[in-house]
Amino acid sequence: MAGTVLEGRSLTQNARLRCDVCIVGSGAGGATAARVLARAGLSVVVLEAGGNNRKDHFTMQEHEVYPLLYQEAMRRATADLSIGILQGRTLGGGTVVNWTTSFRTPEHVLEHWRDRYGLTALTPAALEPHFAEMEGRLGVYEVPDEQINANNRKLWEGAGALGWERTRLRRNVRGCRQIGYCGMGCPFDAKQSALVTLLPDALAAGATVVTDCDIRRLRLAGGRVTAVEGHFHHPEAGDRGTGFDLVVEAEICIVAGGAINSPALLLRSELPDPHDRLGRRTFLHPVAAAIGHFADAISPWSGVPQSVSCHHFVRRPEGMGFFLEAAPLHPVLFAGAITAHGAQHREAMEHLGHTAASLAILVDGFDPSEPGGTVTLHDDGAPRLDYPHTPRLQEGIRAGIEASTRLLLAAGATRVLTPHEPPVSITRETELPRLAFAPTGPNLVRLFSAHQMGGCGMGADPAESVVNSDLCHHSIPNLYVMDGAVLPTSLGVNPQFTIYGLVHRAATQLALRANAVKMD
C-alpha cells in the first residue's frame, strides 16, 4: 500500500503516530534505512525538519533556494565562524543539494577502522553487495570526457602537467543536462537524490513521511526509547512554530539527522553518556579553496560541478593529507567565500567568469593529535560546534593551498588568489615561498565544510564510541544512529556512498532481526 507525505506546516492539530520504526531525518542515511525497512514489511515513519521541496521549488536562484534547502539558511558555521558549514535541510537532506560525486569507502580507511576501532565486520567484501545495490539504484556512472567542464578541465590539466595522480569521478545522475545547479537542487530530477529514488521507494512500500517537523527529544523509559517528540514549524520562515506538536511511539528509533544534528538530538534527550563521547570527534574535511584567473572563459557555474579529482596527497607521511576537487561557483556562494575586501572584492567578483577553483579538502581524524570538533548545545537547544585549528591542521592547510596554487598555475592561471586574510596573489611558481609568510589560524584563512562526519562514532569499545558496527547504541538496544555521525574518522573521499553502504548493511540486518521478533 502506498504511503503518504504529510506537510507539518498545514496540520491544524497535534499529531500522534505509532509505528514499528521511527526515523528522524530523511537524508542519505535516513532514506536508505526507510527504503530497506519499509520494503521488509515494517511500518515506518520518517520525520524531516526541512520542507517537502520538489523540483518546482528549485528555482536556480541562490537567494531563494539556500534558505529552503540548507541548515540555518546556509549560515551554519563553527561557533567562531572560522569554518562555514554547508549542510542540507530539506526532504532528502544533503542528497538534494550535493554535487553527486560517488566514491566507495577506501580500503585503507576500513583497515584503519578495523585496527583502531575494532570494526572487524566492516570488510570490503562485507560491504560490496551494499555498495553495489545502492550504486545500481542511484544510477552511478563514470563521467565521460565530454562532460568535463572548463573548471574541472583545469584541474585535470594542472595535475597532469605536474605528474600528479588524477581520477575521473563517478556520479549518481541519470540524464544529466549539465546546467551546473546541483547545489541548488536539480530542476530536472536528473540527480538521483534520495528525494527521487529512496524516499519514493519507501513510500511505495507504505512508509509515512512527515516534513516540517523539528524533533526535539527522544523519550526514554526503562532503558529504551519509547517515543520521539517534536513540533511543527515553517522551515522557510525562520522556523516559526505552528503551535502544534508531534509524538511518535515506536518499537525502534533511528536517528539520522546527520553529523552535528544527531549528536545534538541525543544531547538534548540527556541520554546516558558515561564516557563523554556524544558530540566528540566531529570531523569536517575542512576545505581551503584557491582561485585561479584564466585568460579564457571558464564560466565555473556551468556544467557538471565535479568530474575529476586529484588524490595525489591524500596520505602525506609528513602531515594531514588532502585531496583536490573543483567546485561550481555561483555569485552568492562565491561572494561569501572569498577573502577579499572592498575594491579587491569587487575585482574578484568581476573576474568570476574567468575563474576556476581548486579545493584542498583536508583529511581529518586519522592522527592521535586530532580531537576533531565538539558539538554542544546553545541555551535554546540548537547545536553549537567548536572545531580546534590544531598545528597539524594548519600545516595541512598550508600544504593544500600551496598544491592548489601550483596546480592552477600549471593549468595556465595568470594569477592565483589564496583564501588568506588578505588573499595572497601569486602569478608564478617562484613566488610560492611567499605563502610561508601568510597568516594562519581561525578566521585568518577562510575554510568551509560540505562533509560533516562523526559525533556519534562507531566502535567496538563503549568507552570510546557511541554505536557498534551494526549502528546500534551501546546501551540503548532499540536506538540506532544511521547517518554520517557514526563515522569514526573522516574518509579522504566524498562521504555519501560510505553512508549509503554502511546504513544499507545495518538496516538490512535490523530488518531481519525486527521481523524475527515480530514473528515470535
Binding site: 539558511a73 549560515r75 561572494a335 575586501h341 568570476l352 553549537r384 586574510e421 578566521n443
Partner: protein, 174 residues
C-alpha cells in the same frame, strides 16, 4: 567534568567583549550616524543599525561598475533576513553592530572615540581592517560575520549578478 565543558562552551559569543564595552558612560552613548531610511518599514534593524550596516556593506562590497544594484537595497534585504532568523542569531548580530559603533569600546581598544558610522570612508576601512586582522579572535569573528552577510546579500540581487557577467539560470528550463 561533562558539566564544566558544556557550561563553559554555551557562553554567549559576544559576552567577553560586551563586558569590556559596558557601562553607560558618555562615550558609550555617542550616537550613530543618521541616514535616510527606506520608505518601507524596517523589521529587525533600528535606524542606527541601518546606518551602521549601510556603512559596512558600502566598505566591504562596493558595487561593480554600472549596476543599478545598491548597498541600500542590500541592507533592506539584510533586514528581512534578520527578521526571519532565530532570536539568538539576530541578537548576536545586532549586538555586534552596537559594539562596532560603540565609541567607548573603540576608544579603549584603539583610541578611536568616534562611532564607526560617523567616520569617513578611509577611517571606516581602517576600523574594519583592524577587526579583520585583530589579535582578538572575537573581533576577527565579527568581521567575518559582517563581510559574509554584506557580500552574500549584495550579490543576491540579479542586477549585481548581471553586472559581473553571470547569465543566471538557462532560459526556458522551468
Amino acid at each position: 567534568m561533562t558539566l564544566d565543558r558544556r557550561t563553559v562552551l554555551v557562553r554567549g559569543l559576544w559576552g567577553g567583549l560586551l563586558l569590556a564595552a559596558g557601562g553607560s558612560t558618555f562615550l558609550a552613548l555617542r550616537p550613530s550616524a543618521r541616514v535616510e531610511l527606506p520608505p518601507e518599514p524596517l523589521h529587525a534593524l533600528s535606524p542606527a543599525h541601518f546606518a551602521i550596516l549601510l556603512a559596512v556593506v558600502t566598505r566591504c562590497v562596493p558595487p561593480p561598475a554600472s549596476t543599478p544594484a545598491t548597498c541600500r537595497d542590500t541592507v533592506v534585504r539584510l533586514d528581512t533576513t534578520l527578521a526571519q532568523a532565530d532570536a539568538r542569531t539576530r541578537n548576536d548580530l545586532l549586538r555586534l553592530l552596537g559594539l562596532l559603533d560603540n565609541a567607548l569600546a573603540g576608544f579603549l581598544l584603539d583610541g578611536e572615540s568616534t562611532p564607526f558610522s560617523r567616520l569617513d570612508a578611509a577611517a571606516q576601512d581602517a576600523v574594519l581592517e583592524r577587526w579583520r586582522l585583530s589579535r582578538f579572535a572575537l573581533r576577527r569573528t565579527g568581521y567575518q560575520a559582517l563581510r559574509r552577510l554584506a557580500a552574500t546579500h549584495f550579490y543576491a540581487d540579479p542586477a549585481a549578478q548581471r553586472a559581473i557577467g553571470y547569465p543566471g539560470p538557462p532560459v526556458g528550463v522551468q
